[in-house]
Amino acid sequence: MSTILPPAAGGSAAPNDPAIDTGRGTGLWKDAFLRLRRNPQAIVGAVIIGLFLLVAILAPLLAPYGGDELPGRTSITPTTIPGPGEIDGFPLGLDRFGGDVLSKLIWGAQASLLIGVVSTALGLAGGMLLGVLAGGLGGWVDNVIMRFVDILLSVPNLLLAVSIAAVLGQSSYAIMIAIGVSQIPIFARLLRSSMLSQRGADYILAAQTLGLSRRTITMSHLLPNSMGPVIVQATLTLATAVIDAAALSFLGLGGGLPQAAEWGRMLTYAQAELAVAPQLAFLPGACIAITALGFTLLGESLREALDPKTRRK
């Protein structure tokens, strides 16, 4: 499910930006940050992510009810599900269980954030470990690791995640691990190729001439300089992780109570009522899409900002 997107052509930073063209060498990351600040796309992305983080972290304060609570259980009947504004105390209406839709959306943000961050961190850590071993050691280690990565890549991401979730049983932890592991091959590949492209660089030769050990060169020279594409990919992966997590819980792999506050699961149970209560599908769906949009916008702006080709313009 995760895709490596092509760079959006047409850099958006102003070519004659004084902050960029100063003769004093600004660092790569500071430079990137300055360029990000001038990119409207990055700002929109950052605002969306900021709001999402705020809602997710402050969920206990913002949500009128708990995620699993069914405060409106007495107000629903098999044929009537009150929609937005139709009933006092529940601004976005109720779902088929009698849960408050607004509260569930807010708690859902927290669930998505948790799954997104944990699974991406897992994928990143695993991918970096494999990537450093392959790119740093080379030789047969590289060969074995890359064949392993190829095998994992030949299984579609969602299927891989599903197979892992099948072993671990149905729970939100299973979803985190499943998505995280299915991201490992992408990070490993990316870091390895990034390291290989740096291996012939002058500063590596200089470090070798100085007689530094291979471990020092790999860890303190090669790795930090190869991290750019990996960090960009991690930001984009947060978007796919949110979508994949929703997909897995939509398919029913989340476990726990049926009324648990997860965006994907809210969609599962909205299916039957699509004709009478479409908002039950549209609200969580829009939340997933907007969150994914935020991470995608920021990730792509970051890639543009770090791309030396657009930087030198």
Binding site: T3, S154, V155, V167, A247, A275, G285, A289, A292
Partner: protein
């Protein structure tokens, strides 16, 4: 050419070998082991012991693995736990449905994506370009199953112009030879059946095709943007070639290489998407079958499918590589 194909197929062997080990270990790590997966969680210890003996799950791992690979090599993928029928047979009856769906999705994605990306680059910075960028962003960030809901709600529930689910109206009594319903209708002359099956393909096809569409638009746009300012395009203009020739034979053709690669890479996305789309539209293809397999822990089905996909993946990559030399004669097949 034949040597290249042979070599590529030979390269597939280590991948499949590795995959078979992973899958073998995967089944052994299922909760309660393969016997419990077969019998369900309420199985008595005696029943589990009997199944273990019957299938050889109690023998050493290496012996088990060799038996397993031996069966795979003979084309025996086992029997589905859910339906009790051979896995290959189940695939054969359901795969045509998914293939039909995928073809509609890809035709939509390529048919709309390539022209849109091309014209976005041609009118770079104008309204069409901006809308294509926004559209492709939306296509990438809206989850497939949510998009499926939106399409179903608008076209099937609100307007009622397209069928909401299934592969064919239950009232139509059509003959099926190939399991490709549209093709069957045409072959047997039951054109209304073919048309009805096609109508059932539109909504899931659109939903499934949107992500590949978004990606194809982006790649085509980026690729055309890069090519249209190349020196040889300037030279062609200076020579006074017709604009149509320049655009068709110079720009579009040279810009197609990355696009073809990308189209080949969409398979994984399409398969994952099919599981979700078929679930929403109650479309009886392989995706929905897989979803049931996931829940029934039907591991022979999942196992067989993963191997099948790995082979399909490799074949599609091979076709993509071979097509390079057709598109660009400078690329020699090596």
């Amino acid at each position: 050419m034949l040597r290249v194909i042979g070599k590529r197929i030979a390269l597939l062997i280590p991948t499949l070998f590795g995959l078979s080990i992973l899958l073998f270990l995967w089944v052994r790590s299922l909760p309660g082991g393969p016997a419990t997966a077969l019998l369900g969680e309420k199985a008595t210890p005696e029943a589990i012991a009997r199944v273990n003996e019957l299938y050889g799950f109690d023998r050493p791992l290496l012996t088990q693995y060799l038996t397993y690979v031996g069966r795979l090599l003979q084309g025996d993928f086992g029997v589905s736990i859910n339906t009790g029928r051979p896995v290959l047979e189940e695939f054969a009856t359901r795969f045509p449905a998914t293939l039909e769906l995928t073809v509609v999705a890809l035709v939509f994605a390529i048919g709309v994506g390539v022209p849109l990306g091309y014209f976005a680059a041609r009118y770079y910075g104008r309204f069409l370009d901006h809308s294509s960028v926004v559209l492709s962003l939306i296509g990438i960030t809206v989850p497939v199953f949510f998009l499926a809901f939106i399409l179903k709600y608008i076209f099937a529930i609100q307007w009622g112009i397209l069928p909401p689910d299934g592969r064919q109206d239950a009232r139509i009594d059509a003959t099926h030879y190939t399991q490709f319903y549209v093709l069957d209708g045409i072959l047997t002359g039951e054109y209304d059946a073919a048309w009805d099956a096609f109508l059932h393909l539109i909504l899931p096809g659109l939903a499934l095709g949107t992500i590949p569409l978004a990606i194809i638009v982006r790649i085509t746009r980026a690729s055309v943007l890069e090519v249209q300012n190349a020196d040889y395009v300037r030279t062609a203009r200076a020579k006074g070639l017709m604009e149509r020739t320049i655009r068709g034979s110079f720009i579009l053709r040279n810009a197609m290489l990355p696009v073809v690669t990308t189209i080949g890479l969409q398979l994984g996305l399409l398969i994952s998407g099919a599981v979700l789309t078929e679930t929403v539209f109650a479309f009886n293809g392989i995706g929905r079958f897989l979803r049931d397999a996931i829940f029934g822990l039907d591991y022979p089905v999942l196992q067989g499918f993963i191997i099948f996909i790995a082979i399909l993946y490799a074949l599609i990559n091979l076709i993509v590589d071979l097509s390079y030399s057709v598109i660009d004669p400078r690329v020699r097949v090596q």
